[in-house]
Amino acid sequence: MSADFWYGALATLIQVVVVAFGGPLLVGLMSKVKARSEGRVGAPVTQPLRDLWKLVAKERLHARHASVVLGLAPTVILASTVVAVAISPLVSTRPWLSSSADILVIVYLLLTGSAAAALGGLDVGTAFGGMGASRAMTIGALAEPALLVAVVALSIQSKTSNLPGIVSATLAHPDWVLGPSRLLALGALLIVVIAETGRIPVDNPSTHLELTMIHEAMTLEYAGPELALATLGEAMRLGLLFSLVANLFLPWGISTQRSVMSLVAGVAFLALKTTFVALGVALIEVRSAKLRLFRLPELLAGGFVLSVLAVVTGLVAR
């Protein structure tokens, strides 16, 4: 067992733990910011963690017609997200198995989670679950091309589609960050992240109004520990996407050397950067209203066109 292996394993462990606690905290932070800007005091930032703790202690309960899919879905959601978190460059550029952290792998791991969530929503056969699943899949299908093309723009510049490779290349060429290609790709990625995490212009996370909800509709049939798993999976997914946006566009502070101190610094910088991303997304939420469902393709097509622009300006400006 070499020192590299232990460093990678430690980095992976830290990443999973940090995102497992950080994801729910980011969710709490965003609802706190929203509450404050609406003149309310709001729940404490740790509220999502307390909710999870409360749910874990509850009874496991299934609807009468539920099949095995309903029980499996939350586990798949969480597991796919944990694997993606473990190999992505979040705290360190060299976590365990980071050589396989290709962007396509991460995208399809996330997609596995969304597909599991949709199947879980469909399983019991209630109207809301099916509606939510159908909407989530529609949005996912529109957001996916934008995500892939945006990352192609990044990988043209750094000549690799390996995420740690892109982050290291950006560290070596700080002047790339303010290039037009990067900025356009950032715009496209922000739209995709907002769509994938179900934040306001796309979906309202705090509503249970049956006609508008998307994400909430899919988790409606879960109770107790399974709801906790699914909610934690969604929160970790949000943490992962925010950290990826932060690290792909502002990679400074990420641990590149093999030392414990740099890992500690990496955690601190990651917390700082994701807090900024969360504040930005929360401000967008405060300032904008939810779009009508039929207007969503406009937003996501906008994201797609931004990512195509990013690719073309990247090719032209090379």
Partner: protein, 218 residues
């Protein structure tokens, strides 16, 4: 020094094309006009940046002219037209917004494929950006063809003009000042004429959409 010069140039040229796409994305006429203002400012930044690097005073004057005409005067005039009816929107374009965005993406790729053949004749950091100008021209034509609102049509025309201006700046370091002066003032004149036209259109038929004016009146 030279890297910041190229960086600013790339950013400004990217902003010209981005604002062209944004005019297809947004629906409210006021937002479309403010995108046009952004484009005018970005275009003048391109000219000034080139002028400062190549120490050409004529180009500097052209940049100032572009800023005054396309960054200030034309958007201000269009805004005045839009403010007569502040809720005026591009409500029913011939091609809906998501489809026109995808179409714009195709046009951008097309202009990259075609434009790189042209720029391959004399490749340099500056001329390589010329496909962005070509894409702006194509997006402008697309807007001109598919939008119904009178202000959108004029914005499409100005997009075409701005795209041509961007290409001339990048490929030939700008046309002589007198030509740019003529072209810019021409467009300004078109906008002024449109303003009168809009007033009489509203007076006669209470609409801003040119496609609904099909018959001649006595």
């Amino acid at each position: 020094m030279s890297t910041t010069y190229v960086g600013v140039l790339e950013l400004a040229a990217g902003a010209v094309l981005l604002s062209a796409v944004m005019t297809l994305w947004r629906r409210s006429v006021r937002a479309i006009v403010s995108m046009l203002r952004l484009q005018g400012v970005a275009l003048s930044v391109v000219a000034v940046d080139l002028a400062l690097h190549e120490h050409e005073h004529a180009l500097l004057a052209t940049g100032a002219l572009v800023l005054v005409v396309k960054g200030v005067a034309i958007p201000a005039l269009l805004r005045r037209i839009a403010q007569r009816d502040p809720r005026s929107r591009e409500s029913r374009p011939l091609v809906n917004v998501p489809a026109s965005l995808v179409f714009a993406a195709a046009l951008i790729v097309l202009s990259y494929v075609v434009g790189t053949r042209i720029t391959a004749l004399a490749p340099s950091v500056v001329t390589n950006l010329a496909p962005l100008g070509l894409a702006t021209v194509l997006v402008g034509y697309f807007m001109l063809v598919t939008r119904r609102h009178a202000v959108s049509k004029i914005v499409g025309l100005i997009l075409v003009d701005n795209g041509i201006a961007l290409m001339t700046f990048l490929l030939t370091s700008g046309v002589p000042l007198i030509v740019e002066l003529g072209a810019s003032l021409d467009v300004l004149l078109v906008v002024v004429v449109l303003q009168f036209l809009m007033v009489s259109m509203r007076h006669h038929s209470a609409t801003d959409r040119l496609t609904e004016m099909k018959a001649l009146h006595d």
